[in-house]
């Protein structure tokens, strides 16, 4: 069993482009759930409209990539308004159901044969991020230390991705420590009290939903750019559940929570995955107990178990404060 290969896999995944994508999406979710107390179970829907907005503009309509980014952001804005207008006046549970349903409805629409001429149906769309890679200043080759090496393209996505994480983190920190941030945190704690102080709770919730949704779209576009393809089935509702797991792991209601959570989540997940495969290959785990093809399922099951245990025993995660994260009935 090659332990250093397992470790290298895990580190590569923990600092890789996907960890940056999930960190950005989870920062949006953190604004919804951690700061405003909105139960958005459809963050993946925002990622989907972002990624597809970009891909459809470039591939189907022949626009430029920069226009595509604007289209992606605009779609997320429309989606947030659409979800928020009917549900934000209702109890938290309605938003939860409406968002999970909306995310899944969008996926079904985008993958249907009816929309295929535009969205590529089940095949999705490919090759639309040429403009992005044309800006890559790094010559082709492999960079890195020890066994942790990345190609020039991945490194470029990582550079942009983690820079975005830094910039968004700074902006969010300013935002949540502003008077606006104090109001949305009070909405999370006691909506009625905030309303009785004359604040328009509905408007604040809507603003939070829109900003977090835009971050989801940014993440979706970065993911689409990284793999140079969008496919409806990569926007499965399970993505949102991954986001919740890493958010609760890092600590909801903390600026660095989703970042720490994402790095750690992908590190641990890939470590387990890689170690299991190695163990099965070396015959330490007999392949009739778990076969290599079942490792993917085992890792989802472990995420589920981790989510249950975290919420039950340490709802504040690594960085959060317990007092803030005992969210009750609303």
């Amino acid at each position: 069993m090659d332990f250093s290969a397992v470790l290298a896999d895990a580190i590569r995944s923990g600092i890789g482009p996907i960890a940056a994508v999930f960190a950005i999406a989870a920062m949006g979710l953190n604004l919804h759930f951690g700061y405003t107390g909105l139960l958005n179970f459809g963050q993946v829907g925002f990622m989907l409209v972002g990624g597809y907005g970009l891909a459809i503009t470039v591939v189907t309509w022949g626009g430029s990539m920069w226009l595509g980014i604007l289209v992606g952001l605009a779609s997320a804005l429309v989606l947030a308004l659409l979800l928020g207008l009917p549900t934000l006046r209702l109890r938290a549970d309605y938003l939860a159901i409406a968002t999970i349903a909306a995310g899944e409805t969008l996926r079904i629409f985008y993958r249907s044969g009816w929309a295929e001429p535009t969205t590529g149906g089940v095949f999705g769309l490919q090759r639309f991020a040429g403009d992005f890679y044309a800006l890559n200043p790094m010559p082709p080759g492999r960079y890195g230390l020890w066994e942790v090496r990345f190609g020039a393209r991945d490194l470029w996505v990582m550079l942009v991705g983690w820079t975005l994480v830094l910039v968004i983190g700074l902006l969010l920190a300013l935002l949540v420590h502003s008077p606006w941030g104090r109001v949305i945190r009070s909405v999370r704690e006691d909506e009625t009290a905030v309303r009785s102080l004359g604040k328009n709770v509905y408007a604040y919730k809507m603003q939070s939903l829109v900003i977090g949704g835009l971050l989801g779209a940014v993440a979706g576009m970065l993911q689409a750019i990284q793999v140079q393809s969008v496919n409806p089935d990569s926007f499965d509702p399970a993505v949102t559940f991954f986001l919740y797991t890493l958010l609760v792991l890092g600590g909801a209601g903390r600026i660095l929570g989703p970042v720490v959570g994402s790095v750690l989540f992908w590190f641990v997940l890939t470590f387990v995955d890689s170690a299991l495969r190695q163990a099965i290959g070396a015959g330490i785990v007999p392949s009739d107990v778990i076969s290599t093809s079942e490792v993917g399922a085992v890792r989802f099951a472990l995420v589920g178990l981790a989510l249950i245990l975290l919420v039950a025993f340490r709802p504040q995660g690594i960085l959060g404060s317990r007092k803030e994260m005992l969210l009750g009935d609303r």
Binding site: Y94, I97, F109, R111, A301
Partner: protein, 335 residues
């Protein structure tokens, strides 16, 4: 408010129809392509019948979801997995190569029993300890999401990805009833489903346990104060919900197919039915599910089949816009 609703409806149209607008222009409607067969009226009747059959199966599973919400205000995102567990355990007893190879009827009964046990196990093993720890309700929603991921993928490891069907009643000759046709299997399933729903209604209206369930759902504190053992009632609700979900799973596996994620795919339709009928109302869940089933099947008259679930979910969003308390829900301030 009126303007806002119009605005939202317009936005909905832009977002869902927008990407496919150019599709509609280039591709001819598929509906008109294969019109050589029966006329529209006959096809509509057939779709209505299929819709009712689909709707009553959703209703069986959704009643439990609604009762759980009514008594402990928990949205159980793991409810779909209770459905899958029912269907898969019946498959194991009935058709699996390593199973005992029972006839479907005892296998289904055993699966329903098992479903009740699983319901009891999650209440005693997960929810009761968490309630005692004082975990917040919103955190409990997230726990149900984790439970759903865990159970679904345990089923995937045990069952595999290959769809399966039960040994008995697999392929049957349709009975023609005038313009519509139905197989004896589907007819039996539909009749049994309706009888089950009637049974649940009788249980809720006529028995002491049913009265206690309705009392707890109506006002938990008042029920506890008048001497009802709330914890016991909640346990009964979980057993009932687990058993009904398992039964619905067997029925769905029988008329469609058994897969590892069948319950998860039904989950959103159950939610749609429950919200349509009014969160927490058992009869609302039945009525709402019936509407959802009919909407899903009737939509295939005009729209492609791969969109049929999406229309049902859009119906959910529209109901939230116009009447958030649902068809049978009580009008109260919910925000």
């Amino acid at each position: 408010m009126g303007h806002q609703r119009l605005f939202t409806a317009a936005l909905a149209l832009v977002l869902t129809v927008g990407p496919a607008a150019s599709a509609g222009a280039t591709a001819p409607g598929r509906g008109e392509a294969g019109d050589a067969g029966p006329g529209f009226g006959a096809r509509a009747l057939q779709a209505l019948l299929d819709g009712v059959q689909f709707g009553v199966i959703i209703a069986i599973t959704a009643v439990g979801l609604s009762l759980i919400f009514g008594t402990i205000h928990l949205i159980n995102f793991a409810h779909g997995e209770l459905v899958t567990i029912g269907a898969v355990s019946a498959f194991f007893l009935n058709a699996s190569a390593s199973g005992p190879g029972w006839h479907l009827i005892p296998a289904a009964l055993a699966a329903v029993l098992l479903g009740g046990l699983v319901g009891a196990a999650v209440d005693l093993g997960v929810w009761r300890p968490l309630r005692r720890r004082g975990t917040g309700l919103i955190n409990l929603f997230i726990v149900t999401i984790g439970l759903s991921l865990l159970l679904r993928h345990v089923v995937l490891v045990l069952y595999g990805t290959r769809p399966g069907s039960y040994v008995q009643y697999d392929i049957q000759q349709t009975i023609e009833l005038g313009p519509v046709g139905i197989t004896p299997r589907d007819l039996t399933v539909t009749v049994l489903s309706v009888l089950t729903l009637l049974g649940v209604a009788l249980l809720l209206q006529r028995t002491r346990t049913g009265t206690a369930i309705r009392a707890v759902a109506g006002n938990r504190d008042l029920a506890a104060a008048s001497g009802i053992d709330v914890q016991r009632v909640v346990l009964v609700v979980w057993i009932l919900a687990g058993a009904l979900a398992a039964l619905g799973g067997v029925f769905f596996g029988l008329v469609e197919i058994v897969t590892w994620d069948m319950g998860y795919k039904l989950l959103l339709l159950m939610f749609a039915g429950v919200i349509l009928g009014g969160l927490g109302s058992a009869y609302g869940a039945m009525a709402g599910s019936l509407v959802i089933g009919v909407v899903a099947q009737m939509s295939t008259l005009w729209f492609p089949v791969d969109l049929q679930y999406a229309w049902a979910l859009l119906a959910l969003v529209l109901v939230l816009l116009v009447r958030p308390q649902g068809i049978l829900g009580r009008r109260e301030r919910v925000g």
